[in-house]
Symmetry: C2
Subunit: 391 residues, 2 copies
């Protein structure tokens, strides 16, 4: 087994070191050696590889001609508009997913969690196509798949069985969606999702858009079940907009329940509405992480798959201006995300996965603010992208 060496790497603490990787894991951060072996990083700043905690590989229009946004403003509007638009998509789910995976790899993402629609129309088709894209990128970018009932389960005939089949086919997590707002049956939806998770021994990642006290009640119900079933650390709630819109007492109660059940919260730092209080969640011991969510799809024309830009948007929206605050936003797109999706051991330390990016930036904060090009992306000791192109 070779031992890749990357010389003259600058760490965020200011040291310049040679990085040695063995069997895909960091084996050393050594004083610069008098050798010409390996690759000279020329003092570029190295940072952990980026993690995208929430993306929809089957939805993106990347690689297609520009498609104007057509959907109305609500979640049901967007679900309907998305289905209407599927028929005239000239490029397959698999090809679009590959385009996106190549893009994210070039931008320094080493692992991601993707939701994949499972509905009465597309059935398991999207899942199988995304799996083919995932296989094509094995070793380049890790892809974890969530069987996601975008159109509901209780209200969508046959979806429960399709989710069961998706998990048998290899989806790593079961998804869910607004138990009250979409499904109108909190216990019925959670019974079904948690039963499937137990049957297949998989984790859960539920889309929760419901705002205010309704949404906070759903969050606590999810936390209660998670604790009761011993699923601590295996459940995520994505978006959880309710956390941004309840009074302080309800927020405290809800954060305590989430922390005690170790339920993770995912944010994409959307532009409208209040942002969930990421710093308060972290301070309360709740696991928070970040993801792209919609990237140029039927839901949103914005986004580009750059998790360094996503960290900037988290900081910008959360008012995190100090270096510590910006480092927190960056952690949501790296360490915290790795822990939440179970991609570890992770970080620039001996024994962790040999994943990093090298950029022209003076400090971590500057890298987040500036989002410089990724000069090099290394995964498991192997260069996978260089100067914006796959190796």
């Amino acid at each position: 087994m070779t031992e890749p060496r990357f010389r003259n790497a600058r760490l965020t603490d200011g040291r310049t070191v040679d990085i040695v990787i063995r069997d895909g894991l960091f084996a050393g951060f050594e004083a610069p050696a008098q050798t010409h072996d390996g690759e000279d990083l020329g003092g570029k700043l190295v940072l952990p590889g980026l993690i995208d905690g929430h993306i929809h590989l089957d939805k993106t229009f990347l690689g297609l001609p520009w498609r104007p946004h057509r959907a109305g403003p609500t979640v049901p509007h967007r679900i309907a508009a998305e289905k209407d638009g599927r028929a005239d998509l000239p490029v397959s789910v698999e090809e679009r997913a590959k385009t996106f995976l190549a893009r994210e790899t070039c931008l320094g993402t080493v692992a991601l969690r993707s939701h994949v629609d499972i509905d009465p129309d597309s059935r398991l088709d999207h899942l199988h196509q995304v799996m083919a894209a995932r296989d094509a990128f094995a070793g380049i970018i890790d892809v974890q798949l969530v069987a996601f009932p975008q159109s509901g389960v209780l209200i969508a005939p046959g979806v429960a069985d399709l989710l069961d089949a998706a998990l048998s086919d290899g989806a790593e997590l079961i998804g869910g969606i607004d138990p009250v707002g979409i499904e109108s049956d909190l216990d019925g939806h959670l019974d079904l999702i948690f039963d499937l998770a137990e049957k297949h021994g998989v984790g859960i990642d539920i889309h929760l858009h419901d705002p205010g006290h309704k949404g906070a009640q759903e969050l606590r119900a999810i936390a209660d079940r998670t604790a009761a079933l011993g699923m601590q650390g295996k459940v995520t709630v994505s978006h959880a907009f309710a956390l941004a819109t309840v009074d302080d007492r309800t927020l405290d109660l809800t954060m305590t329940a989430l922390r005690d059940a170790d339920v993770a919260i995912l944010t994409s730092a959307p532009g409208t509405g209040a942002l969930i209080p990421v710093a308060a969640l972290r301070a309360a011991g709740v696991r928070v992480f970040a993801g792209s969510d919609n990237v140029r799809d039927a839901w949103s024309p914005f986004g580009n798959g750059d998790m360094l830009e996503r960290a900037m948007l988290v900081a910008y929206r959360a008012g995190l201006r100090t270096d510590d605050g910006i480092a927190l936003a960056f952690d949501l797109a790296t360490g915290a995300a790795a822990q939440a999706i179970g991609y570890g051991p992770y970080g620039l330390e001996v024994g962790a996965r040999g994943d990093f990016i090298a950029v022209d930036a003076e400090t971590l904060a500057e890298a987040v603010v500036d989002r410089p090009p990724r000069a090099l992306v290394v995964k498991g000791g192997r260069a996978v992208a260089r100067d914006g192109a796959l190796v």
Copy 2:
């Protein structure tokens, strides 16, 4: 006089044309000629040059080593932290302003309005240094200067006289700041600012951070004076956060007053708090435009002077997802800004200033979403930047 020709330019309506510029103004958008004269744009999309409606050329740290953010969360905190930090700035205002002007030019900005601090400590020093930077960029980027009492006027000894002197020295507008929140004297502040404007025959651009009903009352007071003094079209209120935080009835009353007095509103689409309702303001007939505001300075570590990115942030924060909505956000950083700062005639039409950018994008909306590199920046028919470097 030469007649620069830029061949094979793609317009947003899909036509490919040759652009002819005469005496610095657009003279024709012609069917592609059988000629090799001029520059071949190779079908790149051309858009109007960008306008930055609000920047602080004397504050930016661009070109310095990274400086961690130190200020507390309020406006007075930031005013104090900024002054504390001035002493150890190793590069002059003039040099930092030049660095910023070069950056904005390379990013396609052809004109900007900069506020410049006038206070008891720096007196006219910042103004004179920014004027020197402006003169160095004459013909490359237009710079309009606002004599800005960052530390107040009534509460800051000597500032009224310094503002008077600044206008005599050539500042094009008089600034102001929170008549109630900072100055604690609405009429006293406005008397002084409007008197100086009348004396020197200049426009006004007032920073207004005061929120809620207090801020809305100040907005209406500014509108009333503007109308009473016949200054319609010459007054801007920057930020005007109150418009995001009042009830609908107060908003309607305030928008009507602003429209009737033709008072313009500037936003930088900040990340925290609610965004002012840009689409509603436009629909109500109020002139709205956009600017960078703080770019990597004592107030904020964020920002990069890219007005195409600023348009994206306006759209992202305002929930403008359709092509028309994204075009509105773009207009805030081009046509509406040009009109508000009096930089005209403007736009891609015969007789307007011969300013444009050329980018690799399929549509206007895609250009805003992607913010592609500026392949070419032309001002008055002259190429001023190419591929990110000054010509």
